[in-house]
């Protein structure tokens, strides 16, 4: 048994190991997976003094309550998260985007994400995990990845393989912002929808449904009328693609999505807005805004610059 390990007192709602995910497997039915909010993932690793691609624990809504056993290490949590660290009789209120030291017998209780879905916990070092196709990312649907492809459960142990001897405290002044407008590029089946339907898609608000997870985000709103066919020949899907099935409620494909789908695609969320999109909680209201390919590419460059700039401040 490993000398350094976490004991899971409470696993949380959907806690999984994630990294940058796995590529070049769509053709056999395996999606990218990986951290849903890539920027928060990268910042967590940097704050913990890691390489950018180390495994972290991603949690949704309620995170895990962990007890640590072993040599001291650093942790960092990113997102908009309430958490506490218990050191003996001392209870410390945690701050996101800041590193904290954990010592033997300390407890870390990640209570909840606030007005957002996902948060990230990085440790200064490496969890002891199995990799599949060069990624530890857990895809609970296909049972692929570390932890036998299953989410973390109560009372299990997480071994730490390696600790970076890097105890410089790090902090980043960063405030998460929310978006209300999701920018999209018209989809390949945009003309399957009536003029009125297209207008509704770009003018009306949609509500994020409770039936959203790492696979997809379902939306509810005014019916988008299909005038051609509510089915297409099944074809490949990508992250951010917005399908409109027969019931007319759009579904946005997220990181663990099915690789093939047979519903018309009205639009695709631009890459620059993906990290913000996944953080929208059920009940949030969103609007779609049309942009062209060129603007989408420029917006992505800007987003990348911002991310790199944040990373360089740590």
């Amino acid at each position: 048994m490993s000398k350094n390990y976490f004991e899971i007192i409470r696993a949380g709602i959907n806690s999984t190991f994630q990294d940058l995910g796995r590529s070049n497997l769509y053709h056999i039915g395996v999606p990218f997976s990986g951290a849903m909010d890539n920027r928060s993932y990268l910042l967590a690793n940097k704050l913990a003094g890691n390489n950018h691609n180390y495994p972290v624990i991603e949690f949704a809504y309620q995170g895990p309550h962990l007890k640590y056993h072993g040599d001291k290490l650093n942790i960092a949590i990113t997102g908009d998260v309430t958490f506490k660290i218990k050191k003996g009789n001392n209870l410390i209120n945690g701050e996101c985007y800041q590193s904290f030291i954990l010592e033997n017998n300390d407890e870390l209780d990640i209570i909840s994400t606030n007005k957002s879905v996902y948060g990230y916990l990085a440790i200064s070092g490496k969890f002891d995990l199995k990799f599949q196709w060069s990624s530890c990312s857990i895809n609970t649907k296909a049972n692929i990845g570390s932890n036998n492809g299953k989410k973390l459960s109560d009372n299990q142990k997480i071994n730490v393989k390696e600790i970076n001897q890097n105890f410089v405290n790090k902090k980043l002044n960063y405030i998460n912002t929310k978006i209300e407008n999701i920018r999209v590029i018209k989809g390949t089946n945009f003309d399957y929808f009536s003029e009125e339907g297209k207008k509704i898609f770009f003018k009306n608000e949609f509500k994020v449904s409770k039936l959203s997870d790492r696979m997809g985000m379902r939306l509810e709103g005014k019916k988008i009328e299909n005038i051609v066919d509510t089915n297409i020949r099944s074809e490949g899907l990508i992250k951010g693609a917005i399908q409109v099935p027969a019931d007319a409620n759009p579904i946005i494909m997220l990181s663990d999505h099915g690789t093939i789908g047979g519903y018309p695609k009205i639009g695709v969320v631009i890459s620059a807005d993906y990290d913000k999109l996944v953080q929208l909680t059920p009940g949030s209201r969103v609007k779609f805004q049309e942009v062209d390919l060129n603007s989408a590419e420029n917006l992505f460059k800007l987003y990348e610059l911002e991310t790199q700039n944040l990373i360089s401040q740590i």
């Binding site: 039915g29 296909a142 590029i185 074809e235 990508i238 693609a241």
Partner: protein, 224 residues
């Protein structure tokens, strides 16, 4: 040269091979897929061949639509003989507890159970694509008289190994998964093995597949 390439979002090429679904068009898709796969083009991070489309996903940090389109426009397709397709015979047990929809199909198709199975087991199938869930093969084409619509209400859980049919296609549920296909049997074979990183899929696009009926005893012997 591929004529019909558009963008799907800002990080994918959408290659359209036409409206029809047939082996000729699908073989073209697969040839392009295998050629592009072999080229290891910088920035390309996923390829999804389907009946008559090929989607090429890329990393927007490394390349963009116009640059990649130029490369794909000028690609030369590799010779047929480089593509090696395999043949498989998949054992299927059709006992009552496996053939969940056979009675429904007798009504839908106005055919007797034995006739449905006769037609199904005589057929040589072609794998058009794999996906939706990991390793799931989409096989065609069923005889015209076996073509039925999906279930009105999809099942929340289709058992692993289930053989389903709908329209002109048959498939195999590689995992327990939601699904709306008409289930006529179950295979004891593992069609997707994630512990094999190199070739996790038993069946790949372009492969030939036939099914062989087995008894319950034989089915159970696979699990011993």
């Amino acid at each position: 040269m591929l004529k019909n390439i558009s963008n799907l979002g800002d990080a994918a090429l959408y290659c359209d091979f036409g409206k029809e679904v047939n082996r000729k068009i699908n073989s073209q898709v697969i040839k392009y897929f295998k050629t592009i796969q072999n080229k290891n083009i910088v920035g390309v991070n996923n390829l999804t061949p389907s009946y008559n489309k090929l989607i090429i996903s890329f990393d927007l940090k490394k390349i963009n639509f116009n640059k990649l389109k130029k490369i794909i426009d000028n690609i030369e397709i590799i010779n047929d003989d480089i593509i090696q397709n395999k043949k498989f015979e998949i054992p299927v047990c059709c006992e009552k507890n496996f053939s969940l929809d056979i009675k429904r199909l007798e009504e839908k198709l106005q055919m007797k159970e034995e006739k449905i199975y006769e037609s199904f087991f005589e057929k040589n199938f072609f794998c058009y694509m794999t996906g939706f869930i990991a390793g799931m093969p989409f096989l065609g084409d069923l005889e015209k008289n076996l073509r039925a619509k999906r279930l009105g209400t999809p099942r929340v859980k289709v058992p692993k190994g289930s053989i389903g049919i709908t329209e002109q296609f048959a498939n195999i549920y590689t995992f327990e998964s939601p699904g709306g296909w008409n289930i006529i049997g179950n295979t004891p074979l593992n069609i997707f093995n994630s512990s094999k990183e190199r070739e996790p899929n038993l069946i790949n696009p372009g492969d030939s597949v036939s099914f062989k009926r087995i008894t319950k005893e034989k089915y159970q012997s696979y699990h011993e």
